[in-house]
């Protein structure tokens, strides 16, 4: 890894698990399997996998804010919803011609990030932290849900887009990539799969670089001890606000992709239950590491879907129990714990062999 340009060397470092050729070989194999996977599967299953991938972005955003930054935010679903609704309003009004859906995707993410900037300014510059941050973000999320739920009347419209209260918005255009000789429309199967997979790999690697850069180290330093970080000359508020905004952007990306995937969005995607689920994935996976978060999210989602066959109430009770047990028994997360154990075993064996 010595010949790489500077910022690529940040792909591995103290803040992320996984280093050396062994890790990257496994990474390449997993990526190759992910790329080849649609060839051996049917459209429905591929669409379902896209659904799983969509949620990974919001999990990563929570991992960034909560796991690395140390501020517990319940607002991720609010940003998710804001971006989803923004995408719907934009595309219903302006259509999908000339690749506008891609512009709408970016605009929706920016809108969510701007909202986070406003909210985050009041919170971080008011220097609230810890539990209060959680409560305020939760109150914002619940308020947004209540607001969207009462927009059923015809007077709630933006341009031609009706907000539709509890029924939610639907029938927005799927992502369309302008292409010579006919646009490529990404419906919720193979086309969208490769698009989302590509984004996911980019975001994952990008976050690895970010977290191992000096910015990431400062964020972790603030998590460990805000006073010390401040004494060392860092403006804690600014760093926290930037992390919050980046996280909100990622949550927004998740919201847009969700809206694109199902071509609908409802207020219940911002409710209590919806806000609880990302927390469970991240807590169970291991909130202070990106790789554990991704693996944990995919595993818990798959388990949840398998359990839903027996009724979603039972599945949610199981999720609640899983969350409480994780917090009590393995506070760092199950996947992260397992990976640490594994790497310790490998190192031990290596030493024994030599």
């Amino acid at each position: 890894m010595n010949g790489l340009p500077g910022f690529l060397r940040r792909l591995e470092g103290p803040q992320t698990i996984g280093r050396g050729p062994a890790f990257w070989i496994i990474f390449a194999i997993v990526l190759a399997i992910a790329c080849a996977y649609p060839l051996f599967s049917d459209g429905y299953t591929v669409g379902n996998t896209v659904y799983f991938f969509v949620w990974v972005f919001i999990a990563l955003s929570l991992c960034l804010i909560w796991g690395y930054g140390g501020s517990l935010s319940f607002g991720q679903t609010a940003f998710f919803g804001i971006a989803g609704y923004s995408y719907g309003i934009l595309t219903l009004n302006f259509g999908a011609a000339y690749g506008f859906t891609l512009v709408a995707l970016v605009l929706a993410v920016v809108i969510a990030a701007l909202f986070a900037l406003l909210l985050g300014y009041f919170m971080f510059f008011g220097r609230i932290a810890g539990v209060f941050l959680g409560i305020v973000t939760l109150a914002v999320t619940l308020m947004l849900e209540r607001f969207m739920a009462q927009t059923a009347g015809p007077e709630w419209r933006v341009g031609v887009a009706r907000l539709n209260g509890f029924n939610g918005m639907s029938a927005m255009s799927p992502l369309t990539i302008p292409w010579p000789g006919g646009d490529i429309v990404l419906f919720a199967d193979i086309g969208l799969y490769y698009f989302v997979l590509g984004l996911l790999v980019l975001v994952y690697l990008g976050l690895r670089i970010l977290m191992n850069s000096s910015f990431g180290n400062v964020i972790v330093a603030i998590r460990e001890n805000p006073e010390r970080a401040e004494m060392l000359g860092y403006d804690v508020r600014k760093y926290q606000l930037i992390t919050f905004v980046i996280g909100a952007g990622l949550a927004g990306l998740s919201g847009v992709l969700y809206t694109v995937w199902g071509q609908y969005i409802t207020p219940s995607s911002m409710g209590m239950t919806a806000a609880a689920l990302p927390l469970i994935w991240v807590a169970v996976g291991g909130r202070s590491d990106l790789t554990s978060t991704v693996i944990g999210t995919l595993v818990v989602l798959a388990a949840f879907q398998a359990l839903t066959i027996y009724g979603s109430q039972y599945a949610l009770v199981f999720m609640g129990v899983l969350l409480v047990l994780t917090v009590l028994i393995a506070p760092n997360g199950l996947v992260l714990g397992a990976m640490n154990l594994l790497s310790r075993l490998v190192v031990h064996r290596g030493k024994g062999g030599v």
């Binding site: 517990l72 009041f122 009724g311 009770v317 609640g320 009590l328």
Partner: protein, 290 residues
């Protein structure tokens, strides 16, 4: 005459909002103020109180006793939860939030599975009275009186009883209290049970006025959180004034633009107050005093 009825109407709405905010928040505030723990399952303790109240009232218990039983059951459940979960997490406040959220999820969905999506309610007692052109529910006045009663009772509990003295000693310097022979674990357990019981009481008191559904806790928690955030860690110097200020905001905006704007007003108020007074009203008052 007209001004008098208008004034009464405004006062009535203020009292109603005040009672709702204080009753839904004081259980949360006691737990937060004493232990620094935010109990996200607060709404589910309220739901528990309301459900027990309704079931015992259906069996034939008179309403006041039914409400009391709701509060007691919620307190017992609270003691159990403290013993099994919260006790192990005192040094990790953020994890307490997460764990209590898990509990809230379990309680909501568990109730949905076991009791069903709705439960037969209790009729609102006492009927109504007429002032000017409008009629008002007498029960709402009872709720207002109960809110004042709960505040008074808490004041008496924390200032005039042995438990109150030990509890306040435990908040101030836990290790010193323990060194002097106070069983701080027991104090924490009792405090948590007390907070849960107050939540149950709020649920019982509001059970006759609303539909009983497993997600009813969510109706209360936003108001409860907002009141506690604005109030800060002290129940008397925080929750009560915060309740009064927010009640003015909420009742004013509600009668002007409808219920939704009342709630949005609360949210805007909390975000602005957080920026100006990060430690809430009680933090501000206590700083002025010292």
């Amino acid at each position: 005459m007209d001004i008098a009825t208008l004034a009464f109407s405004a006062l009535y709405q203020f009292g109603d909002a005040f009672a709702f905010l204080v009753l839904s928040a004081c259980g949360l505030a006691v737990i937060f103020g004493m232990m620094g723990v935010i109990n996200l399952a607060h709404g589910e303790f309220i739901m528990c109180g309301a459900y027990v109240t309704a079931s015992t009232a259906h069996v034939g218990l008179p309403l006041p006793l039914a409400i009391l039983s709701g509060a007691i059951v919620a307190a017992l459940v609270g003691a159990l939860v403290e013993l099994v979960v919260i006790r192990h997490l005192y040094d990790r406040p953020l994890d307490t939030i997460v764990a209590t959220w898990g509990l809230s999820l379990i309680a909501t969905q568990g109730t949905l599975i076991m009791v069903g999506s709705t439960m037969a309610g209790v009729g609102t007692p006492f009927g109504s009275f007429q002032v000017g052109a409008y009629s008002y529910s007498i029960y709402r006045l009872v709720l207002f009186a109960s809110a004042l009663g709960v505040l008074g009772g808490l004041y008496a509990l924390f200032n005039w009883t042995r438990f109150g003295v030990l509890a306040r000693a435990t908040i101030q310097v836990p290790h010193m209290a323990a060194a002097l022979g106070v069983d701080t674990r027991l104090i924490y357990s009792l405090t948590f049970a007390c907070g849960a019981g107050l939540a149950g009481l709020a649920g019982g008191l509001y059970a006759p006025t609303m539909t009983l559904v497993p997600t009813m806790g969510a109706t209360f928690i936003m108001e409860a959180f907002v009141t506690v955030v604005i109030g800060g860690a002290d129940v008397f110097l925080g929750t009560a004034p915060a309740g009064a200020v927010l009640a003015v905001v909420k009742s004013g905006l509600t009668s002007w633009q409808g219920q939704l704007f009342g709630q949005i007003g609360l949210l805007v108020a909390v975000i602005i107050v957080v920026r100006i007074l990060p430690k809430g009203i009680s933090g501000f008052l206590l700083r002025e005093r010292t």
